[in-house]
């Protein structure tokens, strides 16, 4: 059982590394969106600093969403998903491995890139640990929730926009808590409350969404 989990992780990583452009695109998107804001609103550090918590989080959210559209597409088209569904292994476990592998190479890379972009926006050094931690806790939720939408829309020809419409409203709690944590840190207040809420949402997402993703895939494959 756990053997299949690690094998699937290895397989997905191998697939991602053989197509590095797909890994890089969301990261470049994230960096460009954040770099555009100083150009648009002007380089006043005070203004940038006050909008940066929301800005970093909205950019991260859109970057994750962008990367999720194709999450199950190729597996759907080449018949891999059918093989997963008819295999003796529990489908929720397989999709959890798939999403985790995807997160490790897109979400985690985004988390590591964030402090650099935070500095560009004039965030003080003391807030960077909170930025890192909030994204580290928040991006897995974004990936897992987004995967539910990706599973439901995988059979549609142009599911991209529908995916965004389905999933963006569900991202609101994560957005509020994540940017709230950063806002608190920026004002010198403790951010632990926000972070703990994010952590509990992460635990909830890791345990519950695989079942929803599996159910969505069964529907898409059964069409």
């Amino acid at each position: 059982m756990s053997n299949v989990f690690t094998l699937l992780l290895a397989r997905e990583s191998r697939l991602l590394f053989r197509r590095p452009a797909e890994l890089a695109n969301p990261l470049v998107f994230f960096a460009i969106v954040i770099a555009l804001f100083p150009l648009a609103v002007g380089p006043e550090s005070q203004l940038l600093q006050s909008i940066s918590p929301g800005l970093v989080w909205v950019a991260a959210l859109l970057a994750v969403l962008l990367s999720l559209d194709g999450l199950f597409r190729s597996d759907f088209e080449d018949g891999s998903l059918e093989q997963w569904v008819v295999s003796p292994h529990p489908l929720p476990l397989l999709v959890l491995a798939k999403v985790l592998a995807h997160w490790a190479f897109s979400g985690l890379a985004l988390v590591l890139l964030a402090p650099l972009l935070g500095l560009m926006l004039g965030l003080p050094l003391r807030t960077l640990p909170v930025l890192l931690l909030s994204l580290l806790l928040g991006t897995p939720i974004l990936s897992l929730l987004g995967a539910v939408g990706a599973a439901l829309t995988v059979g549609l020809k142009r599911g991209g926009l529908l995916l965004a419409l389905l999933i963006l409203p569900l991202y609101i709690p994560v957005l509020i808590l994540g940017s709230g944590a950063l806002q608190a840190a920026l004002q010198g207040l403790p951010a632990a409350g926000h972070l703990l809420w994010l952590a509990s949402l992460t635990a909830l997402a890791v345990t519950l969404t695989p079942f929803a993703i599996a159910a969505g895939l069964r529907i898409s494959v059964g069409e």
Partner: protein, 211 residues
């Protein structure tokens, strides 16, 4: 009467408000080979997917050893080898990596057995080649190599002969017949008439049923 291995009772299938077939009964017992025939769009693939549990029937039910399919997904999964129109082969992975993953997912096999199976389908020397560089027929062979790896008893194959050359077709026909003679079961769709038929061969023509 003994309980058949796989049984369909009064099966009906509807796609996009169009009734493909209804009241379809079939029984499958060890040694049987069932060729599902019929014109394009008559529901051949749909029937196969119903038997695999990938789709839900509009009416009727599929029974595995006398019990409903829904209640025993695990049991079906251990007994079934399904190769659909797309066989689940990743173009970015090599033939060996693809087969190793499919084996890990369904039927554990050793490294040597995987190389042996690839050699059996005529892919010796192509083990380390990414599948997107292989021809359509060679890619099909990678998927079919699973049939040579201590496979489960029930094979459900959708158009397994597509893109295979003459020699490949003959070899696969012989392998399918041999599997049936040894007590296995095969359900397949194909448009060409088989040259080698096992004793348990039957044909189900979905086109004639509708007429």
């Amino acid at each position: 009467m003994t309980t058949p291995f796989l049984e369909a009772v009064a099966l009906a299938c509807e796609r996009d408000w169009r009734l493909l077939f209804d009241g379809l009964d079939l029984r499958l017992e060890p040694g049987d080979m069932l060729q599902v025939a019929g014109p394009n769009g008559s529901g051949k693939t749909s029937l196969l997917r119903l038997l695999c549990g990938l789709m839900q029937p509009t009416a009727g039910q599929v029974l595995l050893k006398g019990a409903s399919l829904q209640a025993q997904r695990g049991e079906l999964a251990r007994n079934l080898l399904w190769i659909g129109h797309a066989a689940g082969i990743k173009g970015l992975l090599t033939a060996e990596e693809n087969l190793a993953w499919l084996c890990a997912l369904h039927q554990p096999a050793s490294h040597e057995a995987i190389w042996q199976a690839l050699a059996s389908v005529g892919l010796r020397g192509f083990e380390d080649v990414p599948c997107h560089t292989l021809s359509a027929g060679q890619q099909r062979r990678v998927g079919l190599a699973r049939l040579y790896l201590s496979p489960p008893p029930l094979w459900i194959l959708d158009e397994p002969f597509t893109a295979l050359d003459k020699h490949g077709v003959a070899q696969l026909e012989a392998h399918l017949a041999q599997h049936c003679e040894a007590g296995g079961m095969v359900v397949l769709t194909t448009h060409h008439s088989l040259a080698q038929m096992p004793s348990g061969y039957r044909e189900l023509d979905l086109g004639q049923r509708a007429a």
